[in-house]
Amino acid sequence: MKYVGKGLPKLDGIRIATGQPVYTEDLAPANTLVVKILRSPHAFARIKTIDTSQAVALEGVACVLTHQDVPQVRFTLAGQSYPEPSPYDRYILDEIVRYVGDEVAIIAAVDEKTAVRAMNLVKVDYEVFDPVLDFETATEHPSVVHPEADLVCNIDIGLEQEKNIVCSHSNEVGDVEQELSQCDVVVEETYYIQAQAHAMMETYRAVSYLDHAGRLVVTSSTQIPFHVRRQLARALQLPASRIRVIKPRIGGGFGGKQTGSIEVFAALVTLQTGQPAKIILDRRETFTSTTSRHAMRLKVRIGADREGFIRALDIEGLSDTGAYGEHAPTVFWVVGEKTLPLYNKTRAVRYHGQVVYTNKMPAGALRGYGATQGTFALECAVNKLAEKLNLDPAELRLKNLIKEGETALAYHGKRLGSSTLHQCIEKGKELIGWQEKYPRKDMGHNKVRAVGMAVTMQGSGIAGIDTASAEIRLNDDGSYTLLLGSTDMGTGSDTILSQMAAEVLETTLDQIVVYAADTDISPFDPGSYASSTTYVTGMAVLKAAQDIKSKIIQQGAKFLETTVAEVAFDGQLLQAGDKSMTLEKLAELSILGSGKLQLVGHGTHGSDVSPPPYVAGFAEVEVDQETGKTTLLDYVAVVDCGTVINPTLARIQVEGGIVQGIGLALYEDVKYDAKGTLLTNSFMQYKIPCRKDIGNIRVAFEESHEPTGPFGAKSIGEVVINTPAPAIAHAVYNAVGVSVTKLPITPEKVFMGMQNKI
């Protein structure tokens, strides 16, 4: 293949790297109002009175909006295909505020200084309630986070408002209790996965204005332009046809921008004032008032027979969605969905539990989306099981993991189309030096080195739900325009989708103009999330390219006065016997001249399956026994993402995901004080890995061929974040015998663990 499998540079790479103005803020029109949000200082309160008179009177203030000025229609900010499983549980502004940082008033002024001054002049009198801060006792708490009568669920998610339960779930195949009772060895442990911040470098921002026809245009750093359009339509009570959402270049997303955290505020100001408006959250607001990963408690019971076959698996979950239910049910379901099918020698599996509301910042989508939490719990338990069985943890996995062509109890009766996970493990063992290094080596001077491992699966798109389209147009000069609704957030998806189109059309990349994403122009795409773009949108591109190719040949047959079967097309030239025509000429005649036909190829794709990509992750750490400090020396990730469309970009995706996983494992923690105020609201308090924190990272691919994917490809974006936490926890355990079950693995926890052992 000429383009698929080639490590080509990103088509926007040079321009974005050298600082060109192509991001949301750079595109704001002149004289744009600056939007600021007055936020709640209380975790749970009712606004008794709010006096905006002084603020409104300030020169330069365009408007100050409160809960009295917004439509009384509940909606969700979760970027999901309609009907969203997330509950419609918020107003744009509510009389009740549900966490420290919740929106109280929207202020728009001619500049930032004026807006901030006006914000300080808004007087609010609150009736303060007792907040629900501990998610483990939320169901018994006397306070009800969402008492409102007009909360709406599109589907039954097991909501019980009085108990602060947003979602209840239970999926059992076989009889778990009975199987566990028959197992020779059972491991039971409870794991805690902390909330995690996305910490993308470009904070949340959107710019809105009215166009020449009076339609609302919102330019936003979003992963989900079409979902944002639908959210705005509902929240603002406008027809979606009156709204246009444009996604320019994005400075990172990681799932954060799969929630419409900011667009509605700028849009409302524009509708009220008729003026352009921009909202740019600073880093503190990004930490305190958007979303994070769902913190969870996962209780795992896993049982095996004496031969080392895993026969029963039970995971009981409790998830903290915070003040609003964005992605609450779906993230929770994914915990089981992306863990239960891994070990398929089981006779019974179960995943069950609840998601609760608390008075903290809402949780949302973050790379891994529940699979990260589930993988940590399951893989820690599997490592513990291996020890109990006196088996090498790699051997235990090779013995129990699902293989290509097989099915699993919780795999919906489907067969696994592709997997090289077993080879990934073998390769990873070799690269890390498992034979020599497992489990530990005393280095002297109180330093111990050890290795640990974990495996994981994710999905590729959302089976049976998400559907993406692509269009390819032949232009009058013989070049193509590829129209997409997927959202390249730095991943390089625009580039790899062009590579796929170029492969089919046998053309060069410079002959393809890619445009994404704009709801007025792009065909529908849910957006880039759920590891869907390569797999789902990629298939749509493949279909669109095949469609236009056949239309070019049909048109060629007309011009060459022959049948379609006689025409050969090599990407540049159409030939039938001794007659021929260049593509350029065909395009010119079709569009400008006698052909009278603009050729457009369409492709729409949704998949009935969500084929899992896999990673086998291996960590080598050094633990200082005097301080408990863990230093990551080496990380090996061997990845099965099907066919690797672009090895360079795929490798960077893996390395970036591993480092985010290292952050989750060792450093990152979203913390609150006793009153529910977020403590980790800057990079000073919330530590993401810097260059010195990561050791060495090595990546290898073990390609499989996914029969349902474009050119055999699966996904890669999310799966790569899942293994570091359990693999590092395993290595730390192998080093000093301390099992850290509550992330992150801080020196304090390791040190205290060592003391308690003595």
């Binding site: 490590g7 974005i16 790297a17 050298t18 672009n646 990079f683 000073m684 260059r691």
Partner: protein
């Protein structure tokens, strides 16, 4: 107040407020490569050179650059592009949002350190955060760039 300064080799008179940050002043003047990724001097996105030294423009009051030479990435496009070619070949620009500040620091490092070791490179760039790439690809690019330059 009015201050005289030099931006990318051109003498310019800036009207700045007492409390105005250099990052804001530069963006207002149209230097849109300047980005602010944090408000605690942690991320390095806003890095420019003041008299040739990489400096956080978000932590510098604008009036302090009176009489100084400011360089933004707009002023060193040929050098920036030379390194960007290597960076992009590694795929290590990803979202690109942190790249201008990162590249300004890399170019300054090349000027300041002779044959830096891997440890020296990492140390010099510790103040430039990136959430996309995991840093490894950037390190590969820098080594290629320094080796070949």
């Amino acid at each position: 107040m009015q201050i005289e300064t030099t931006i990318n080799g051109k003498k310019i008179t800036l009207e700045v407020a007492n409390d105005e940050l250099l990052s804001d002043a530069l963006r207002t003047k149209g230097y849109l490569s300047i980005r602010q990724g944090c408000d605690t001097s942690c991320c390095g996105l806003c890095t420019v050179w003041i008299d040739g030294k990489p400096t956080l423009s978000c932590s510098t009051l604008a009036f302090r650059v009176k009489g100084k030479q400011i360089t933004t990435i707009e002023g060193v496009q040929p050098q920036a592009e030379e390194f960007a070619q290597v960076l992009v070949a590694e795929g290590a620009e990803q979202c690109g949002f942190c790249s201008p500040g990162f590249i300004m620091t890399v170019l300054a490092m090349k000027h300041e350190l002779k044959n830096p070791t891997e440890q020296e490179i990492i140390h010099y760039l510790t103040g430039n955060l990136c959430r996309c790439t995991g840093y490894m690809g950037q390190l590969r690019a820098i080594k290629k760039y320094l080796g070949g330059a």
